[in-house]
Symmetry: C2
Subunit: 463 residues, 2 copies
């Protein structure tokens, strides 16, 4: 049933009038230190789940925080409306905050500040993903406040392990498939194209995470006594890492590109029309030269080509001063972003072979798995996508764009595989949000415009 224009206007007016209260609720959630990857913060993750459960109950949802072997999943339903049934997904967990000394303020004491492009909300999780998920929750609140009802049937699934491998979510989805199945999944964890142009993301890279620890000697050794004769695990690790990329920037793993399709010329032409500025993109990060495969544009490198990144390394003495030690062990965290067609298991196997092939006979390696998910491509011709594009276009200065993303949102693949459900990836973040980094922020315009966008999208779906 179409939503009358005056109803939509009333809900949007409600969003505008209650923005300060919406921010207060967001700040309460942001203050909870729900770092999922660090066991020290397990009770904070539980607190965030409980906070969300109560918040959704106050909105009339039947909401519960469901236990898993890891952190809880918040599930909520409100099915009084006619019309389609949507399942909204977000995650309440956040990345660790180190290096803490680079933050200008407490990461868990959010603040509104003036940024170069308008006001910003600064703090861990503001953009990834508490700020984004709250745009949807606050849109529901505005609908309820202004009209007493939601315009469509809404379920939510808010998880707490997106930043730490998310191993427990697929079994949870399988065990609760009947309850979670809806007509379409909505995910708010992606970027706008730019500050004037909203975006629906239809291509996402997959992810394989691996941690390796190389052990050489059975104890730390004195480099004067043993240097030259004793194998140094940092040297071994450096050799393994150096061999991961060729001088031309391509990744050396056996079969790494076997299942990678070339992007059709027509699609590349569409990307060129977006006017993406390679130089400006890198300049924003203080860089000048693209580091990956040469002869491919930056957009192709980050949207459509797989990558290998060293996310962390440690070994030996890393404190102040100097210690002439040959350590017994050295370790690294390494991840691969995958594109459509690549098999995470095959890439993991190729990586482990790469390491073992370069390991001296008297050394050992231990592998730890940190998540694996294939890339996904969302069909770009569905009715929900068309309605969402129209709603976004009504809200923002420029028409909505259909884009790819270098990031990975494994849950979208799981929605298709487990629940046979397509996903719309609609988010309001920006590439300069510094997610996973010190001084993460979310534009106040993203939060405000995001709430208004969801109000319009839900109205569109009811139509």
């Amino acid at each position: 049933m179409p939503v009358p224009n005056q109803t939509l206007d009333a809900v949007l007016a409600q969003v505008d009038a209650s923005l300060d209260q919406s921010l207060e609720r967001l700040f309460s959630l942001l203050r909870i230190k729900s770092i999922s990857t660090d066991p020290a913060f397990a009770s904070d993750c539980q607190r965030a789940a409980d906070w969300l459960t109560e918040n959704l109950q106050s909105l009339g949802f039947v909401a519960t925080a469901r236990p898993t072997p890891g952190h809880p999943v918040v599930v909520a339903h409100q099915h009084d409306a006619a019309g389609p049934h949507v399942l909204f997904y977000g995650h309440y967990d956040v990345q660790p905050v180190d290096p803490l000394n680079l933050w200008h303020a407490d990461p868990f004491e959010p603040q509104i500040k003036q940024g170069p492009d308008g006001k910003i909300i600064v703090g861990r999780g503001t953009s990834d993903d508490k700020g984004q998920l709250m745009t949807f929750v606050e849109a529901c609140r505005a609908w309820k406040a202004a009209t007493g009802a939601l315009p469509v049937r809404i379920s939510m699934m808010l998880e707490g392990e997106e930043e730490s491998g998310g191993k427990n979510l697929p079994p949870f989805m399988r065990a609760n498939a009947d309850e979670l199945k809806a007509d379409i999944a909505l995910v708010c964890d992606t970027d706008m194209w730019d500050r004037k142009t909203p975006s629906i993301t239809t291509m996402l890279r997959g992810l394989v995470g691996e941690e390796i620890e190389i052990t050489c000697a059975n104890k730390d050794l004195h480099s004067g006594m043993f240097g030259n004769a004793a194998r140094n695990p940092i040297q071994v690790l450096a050799n393994i890492i150096a061999d991961l990329r060729r001088p031309d920037g391509s990744v050396t793993l056996e079969g790494f590109y076997d299942d990678v399709a070339e992007v059709p010329d027509a699609v590349k032409a569409g990307w060129r029309d977006l006017g993406f500025d390679d130089v400006a993109f890198l300049e924003g990060a203080g860089l000048a030269l693209p580091a990956g495969e040469q002869n491919r544009s930056v957009l192709e490198q980050i949207w459509a080509r797989p990558t290998c990144e060293i996310n962390g390394i440690t070994g030996g003495y890393t404190g102040d001063g100097f210690k002439t030690v040959i350590p017994a062990r050295a370790s690294a965290k390494i991840s691969f972003r995958l594109v459509s067609g690549m098999d995470p298991d095959k890439i993991r196997t190729a990586f482990r072979k790469h390491v073992r092939d370069r390991l001296p006979e008297d050394c050992t390696v231990e592998f730890s798995e940190h998540g694996g998910a294939p890339a996904i491509t969302v069909p770009s011709d569905g009715i929900f996508l068309q309605k969402a594009l129209a709603a976004l276009t009504d809200e923002w200065p420029n028409p909505a764009a259909i884009t790819g993303s270098g990031g990975s949102i494994p849950v979208a693949g799981e929605f298709k595989k487990i629940l046979d459900m397509d996903t719309l990836l609609i988010g309001f973040a920006h590439v300069d949000d510094a997610i996973h980094s010190p001084n993460e922020k979310y534009d106040l315009a993203s939060f405000h415009g995001g709430i208004r966008s969801w109000v319009r999208i839900l109205a569109g779906f009811a139509d």
Copy 2:
């Protein structure tokens, strides 16, 4: 004036009778956390210097803890005897204790335990160098207790920055050259050949320490958004480190071997006679394959060939779990052991060129210098050396050996350069003492036999 046999026997009997009190004094010194490289322990270094000053004053020395821009140098004199004048050198500072979780007990709460080869004293600094320096101090105490006098004129210089670059000692020696100049310098900071065979070390490698920090982006980046396009400083660092050695184990720096002389065949033959067991040496560290230059024996690799070691590396996320970050920075601590003829400045320059040559144009590197000293060779034909060899041979089951060492004791070079004084390097440590490592230990037999050895050596010098 020759020392009568019964006098020597009385002093040795005094050593044996007061061993428990000697250990108590050693333990008091070991409990002081004099980690020189970490500014947090500066007051502990001062305490160690004060403790030694008082201990030496109680022995009749005129002793003072002299300030320097870093930690104090303890200088002591007792010149009542006739005969030659010796300057004893040791250091009261110790290495950091991390990784602390690998220690079986508090590193600064020394304990006597049963080791595989007899009783051992476990704790940081037991072997390097507090236990060693106290063998000399306790030998002096036994002389005073048994005879009321020292047999020769003795000065001491005990420094607190040997483990942290030791930049302040050469200026201190130049400023106090007249006071410090003696007939011979004695240094107790080296190993025995084996548990039955004492050793005087006449070849020591030099050391160049460098810390490098590579910066790529101006902030930590999300590997999904930027991976492939943004330069990863860990990858850059790994490439630089991997390029430091060729597959044959040799070091790649320009001119690295230019000033390295081949060891004469006769010397190599002498080393073969020592019966050094390459396999057993590596097996003791849990290794099987020598890692350095191929076609050279382990003994040649560690005594007579320069080396390059990575002593520490860090970058990105190193905590529990996983974080898909491309860090802005990564750093490493790298040291070079030099052999006779090599110029530390030339090696440092070659290393920095190696790094800069491999640095992408839009990245930067910062270098920090951590000490630099040439290798030294002590003449093996002096009268003091001959007397010391004889005294050591009297004390231990096997005749004393003349050996090299892979370690670096820069002060021996400074004694020659600044004070025109030769040095005897006589120590009682063992290769399995785990110096610079968790669970450092010193054999009780090293401590006891070390004190007895110095008693005999001082008697020999008086002769």
